[in-house]
Structures are given as C-alpha cells and as structure tokens.
C-alpha cells in the first residue's frame, strides 16, 4: 500500500508555496520523497495567475504593491485566484502519475472527490463541476489546477472559507468595472464560501479536509526535508521571485 506523507497546515508566502509544490515533485521523481498531501495558507495574501495568463492583463500589479499582496505565476494552468490569508485553505497533492487515472478529467475528479467528501461531511451539497471546479448549490466554492511533468502529477486547489469580494476585485483586473455593485452582486451569484453554508470556524473546515484527503490511505505526518528546503530556496531565487517568470506573458 502507498504510504503518503502528510504536511499539515502551514502559512507561507506565495513564492515559498509554489516553490515547495515543485520541489516536492522533484524529490518524488528522485525517489527521495513519498507521495505528499500538503495544506497551506498564503501569508501575506496573494494573487496567483495560471501558467498561460498575462500578469499585466489579469492583475493590477500596482494595487498589489500598494496593499502588500504578493503576485505570482503558477506552474499549473487555470485562472487568476485571489488567496486571502484568512479566507481560504489551499491543498496540494503531489504524487507519481500512476497513482491516479490516466485521463486528465478523471484524475481531477478523483482528487476533487476528496474535497467533495469533506464538504459533504460538513453538510454541504458539494459536487465536482468539470473541468476543474467544485460547486455547492451551483456556485463555485473551490478551484483546482493540475500539472503533469516527468511522470509526476501535481494538483493544487483552494477552498473558499470566507469571501472578501471587494479586496479580490481590487487586484483582479476583471474588476475594472467591478467596483460597481453590479459586478460584486454578479460574483455573489457565481461564487460561494463555506461560511455561507455552515456555521463553523476554519479549523473545523481543515479537520474535515484532513479526513476527506486521508480516509482510506496510509499517511505519515511529515515535514519538508532539508533537500526540499534547499530546492525551494533555489526555485524562489531563480524562478518564482523573478520578473522573467512572473511577467513571461
């Protein structure tokens, strides 16, 4: 049976978080790390854009600087996301591809199923909505993004605990007209969060996610290794903190 490493909830900045997900993949590829489930928050708040998006088209970079919000390009595709330090939880699953279905959608469904299980355990009518979303009562509560490289699958995703739409729209460029109430109301029609469905604190959400992700698996609590920390430092310096990466498109 596969033994997973579980790295429990930690708060890090955007550069560390993205470098860590990549570093773990490199170490799994070299057989120096186990398949890993990791939970984290973004400290300070951050916006991440998908691999194929344009930073300047998607993000108000000057506003981010003014508000002390990090901005970063992910290795995974998908859309721009505002990561509120207190308003969401992020997970990553990094493992050899063969542990999951070969088809992209099927593997999304498999991992998103763990989030769905957690939300259902909290009483929510959660469902996987292809390609890469999870919805509750038809509204998006979780976005997920997957990458496959060298036989290693990385999927990370966020689960919205609380909504701060005004702050979100002040840094995401869809918000040029967004500040208008109409846009915010429109987003409220499409996006929801755990707090709108369950009177629980974020710790309870985290515990439900832990159960959803670890049920039926053999897991060992673990931490990032010295080797991984060294790779993270290098990736932050040579890639994730550089304009050549973040403003590549």
């Amino acid at each position: 049976m596969v033994v997973w490493r579980l790295i429990e909830l930690e708060g890090h900045d955007a550069y560390f978080n993205m470098a860590a997900d990549e570093a773990i993949g490199k170490e799994i590829l070299e057989r120096r790390a186990r398949p890993t489930i990791r939970f984290y928050t973004w400290k300070p708040c951050a916006v991440s854009i998908g691999h194929f998006q344009s930073m300047r088209d998607e993000i108000d970079v000057e506003k981010c600087k003014e508000l002390g919000i990090d901005y970063i390009r992910r290795k995974t595709g998908g859309g721009a996301v505002y990561h509120d330090e207190k308003g969401e939880l992020t997970y990553s699953v990094i493992a050899p591809q063969e542990l999951f279905p070969k088809g992209i959608l099927e593997s999304y469904k498999a991992i998103c199923g763990w989030v769905v299980d957690a939300l259902r355990a909290l009483g929510m009518d959660a469902n996987f909505a292809p390609i890469n979303d999870i919805v509750v009562e038809g509204k998006k509560i979780s976005g997920n993004a997957q990458s496959r490289s060298g036989g290693i699958l990385l999927q990370h995703g966020t689960i919205l605990y609380d909504l701060n739409l005004e702050k979100m729209f002040s840094v995401l460029k869809i918000s040029k007209e967004k500040i208008a109430d109409k846009m915010i109301k429109d987003a409220r029609m499409r996006v929801t969060c755990v707090r709108e469905h369950a009177a629980i604190d974020r710790g309870a959400l985290y515990r439900a996610l832990l159960d959803g992700f670890t049920n039926g698996k053999e897991c060992e609590a673990g931490a990032l290794s010295v080797g991984e920390l060294r790779i993270i430092e290098e990736l932050e310096r040579t890639e994730y903190k550089t304009d050549s990466w973040n403003f590549m498109r």
Partner: protein, 100 residues
C-alpha cells in the same frame, strides 16, 4: 500590424490570441485560463503558427495545431485546435491596436 481576439470556448475556457503580422504571422501569443499538458508545450504550438500566411483559413491552421499536438503528445484541456484557429483568424481580422 497587430491584432487581438478573445473567446470563451463553448464548454471550455477563456482564450486570447495576440499577434503581430504583415502578410504572415510574425509573433503570436496564446493566453488564457486553459490547461496544456505538458505546460512547456504551448510555446511549441505558438512557434509552429509563426510564419503562417494570414490568408490561411481556420481549417489549415487547426490542422497544423492538431498535427503538432498529435506528434508531440500534447493534450489541450479547455481549448481545442479549432478554437485556437478561429481566434487566430479573428485576431488577424481585428481592428485593435493591441497585440503582442
């Protein structure tokens, strides 16, 4: 000349094409919230489209993308060769000042 076009792919993702052209496409970027596996394959698709005549029809452009994807094992999720080709044509025909 430069051009930009965007579309929401039916059942898929947002797709933007920005390009610079004369009688042929000279520079081109494909942007959006879609997925490409492996990720580093997208520049390969962009490269094969550079040099394409602006008179090429959408079917011809789509075939180029489909052949490249097939031969290199590239998987597109949320966009298709046809949707990229349509957006390339729309970018060439756009009257925008915005491009690559």
């Amino acid at each position: 000349m430069v051009g930009t076009a965007k579309q929401k792919v039916p059942g898929g993702k947002l797709l933007t094409v920005k390009l610079k052209y004369d009688d042929r496409i000279r520079e081109l970027q494909i942007l959006g919230d879609f997925f490409v596996f492996p990720e580093d394959a997208l520049p390969e698709i962009e490269r094969i489209l550079v040099g394409t005549s602006i008179k090429a029809d959408a079917d011809e452009i789509s075939t180029k993308i489909r052949d490249a994807a097939k031969s290199k094992g590239i998987e597109l999720v949320g966009i298709t060769p046809d949707s990229i080709a349509q957006t390339v044509k729309a970018a060439v025909e756009s009257k925008t000042e915005e491009g690559v």
